[in-house]
Symmetry: C2
Subunit: 253 residues, 2 copies
DNA sequence: TAGTGGTCTAGACCACTAC
DNA sequence: TAGTGGTCTAGACCACTAC
């Protein structure tokens, strides 16, 4: 620790030391108590704690206390259905449809889906759960012409399997762009994380046979609970694109 | 906007609206001015701004003001040398060696490198730059036996090329784990970002011919300036591993 | 009811910039 | 020197929990 370090930094360091000697799930001393003991304002103590919350080291529960968090879970980035991925890891996948809409026009998404701007599009948002715990929030856009008769009730099982079996659309590969975003209040409520908590925002265009675009999706994963795993291969040339930063928001609020 | 939203949220929303009408590089009104105008404490205004800073929408400069930020840049996740990647995109790559050490024992990294725990290891940390601007902070571990005679001065050019040409070690594939971490003060100084700014933390094990592990590395990229691009392939089965969360820190401080 | 975290305030003082 | 962002404080009041 350097002398020039800020009080927040020094406090965070003390918190880290404290936490490393504690077991998962155990309760930290209260904010007021630690602030008094370490001679800092409660706000300073809280700012230090904020950083450990974002990183996933501790969890705060309103009215109850602050606890040492569980380890993160790894999310493989293979082009695999969420359901299969979860089952492979011994977890029970489920999903809750938060929104289901038919849009008269694809708008911005038309270009990505490679359809005429005036073609209709189906957009739906699902909360993905593993063993009942919210994992990710996923919004999908698909050309309405590709999925005739699709209804909200169809989406409780695997979307990939549905595409393959009913619509003969087989997703083979994809391109993803990963960004860090902060949870809006709505997203935080659904994912049961802190408002303004750090999220992975993964934008994926998926391709089927003959390179056709099948769907386009935006997934949000909690950064405090998950890591992403990916295989790296040589020379997969990917076009670099400059992107306007965004605050988060999978779907339009 | 809902009535139940917090003041920070409401303020962030007003800031977003303000920013969307402004051009890249232009100056926002000062914190004191906006706080007065919107009837919030300066700390509240700052907390709202904090979120836009993390997301990369605005940049603060001490003593100068707050500015609308430039768009993010995409980082391809192919297993490609940093130098080649940058050159392909018309940027001049360079790197500065921040630390270079020979360790008598590999310690924790021995297991990843698949060498006996008592074998010596070379560890070095480089700051990667594109057109002179810091992009990432990269720490690499490699078995000393694989790189006899390696010296700090060798590392200004491409590490992959050096491995291939001098040591006949060709890196072909890799496995990466991506996490969100917050910059320590040291990392923030090197990357010229905010202390506690959000970073991508990418841990990579690289493999050569016959699946041998060649090196192990931890890269930190600024989350406010970069996004990651990756190709997704079907059925790349990746073992899921539970991981203890960490605050950041590529290398031991 | 007592204790916890969540939000917000009004102000002090510092460090840096531009002149 | 005036104006900007950076840090920290001491306290108020709210919302939630556990009893």
């Amino acid at each position: 620790m350097q002398a020039s370090y800020s009080k927040v930094s020094a406090t965070r360091a003390r918190l880290l030391q404290l936490i490393h000697s504690m077991d998962t799930g155990t309760t930290l001393p209260s904010e007021r108590e630690l602030a008094r003991e370490w001679n800092v304002a409660r706000m300073t103590l809280r700012r230090a704690t904020d950083e450990l919350v974002v990183t996933g080291l501790v969890v705060r529960e309103h009215g109850r206390g602050t606890f040492v968090a569980r380890p993160k879970m790894a999310q493989p980035m293979a082009m695999q259905s969420f359901s299969d991925g979860m089952r492979e890891r011994g977890l029970r996948p489920s999903s809750r449809v938060v929104e289901f809409r038919r849009l008269r026009r694809g708008g911005v998404q038309s270009r990505v889906l490679r359809i005429p701007a005036n073609d209709p599009v189906v957009r739906f948002t699902r909360l993905r759960l593993a063993d009942g715990e919210p994992i990710g929030l996923e919004t999908t856009w698909v050309a309405a012409g590709r999925v005739p008769g699709l209804q909200q009730g169809d989406l409780t099982a695997s979307w990939y399997e549905l595409l393959a079996e009913r619509y003969d659309s087989h997703i083979l590969t994809g391109t993803s762009v990963i960004e860090i975003a902060l949870a809006t209040e709505r997203e935080a409520r659904l994912l049961e994380c802190e408002p303004a908590g750090a999220l992975f925002r993964i934008e994926t265009t998926s391709y089927g046979q003959t390179g056709r675009v099948v769907d386009f999706g935006v997934d949000l994963f909690r950064g405090d609970r998950y890591s992403l795993m990916t295989e790296r291969l040589p020379g997969l040339a990917v076009r670099a694109v400059a992107r306007r930063p965004r605050l988060s928001s999978a779907a339009p609020a």
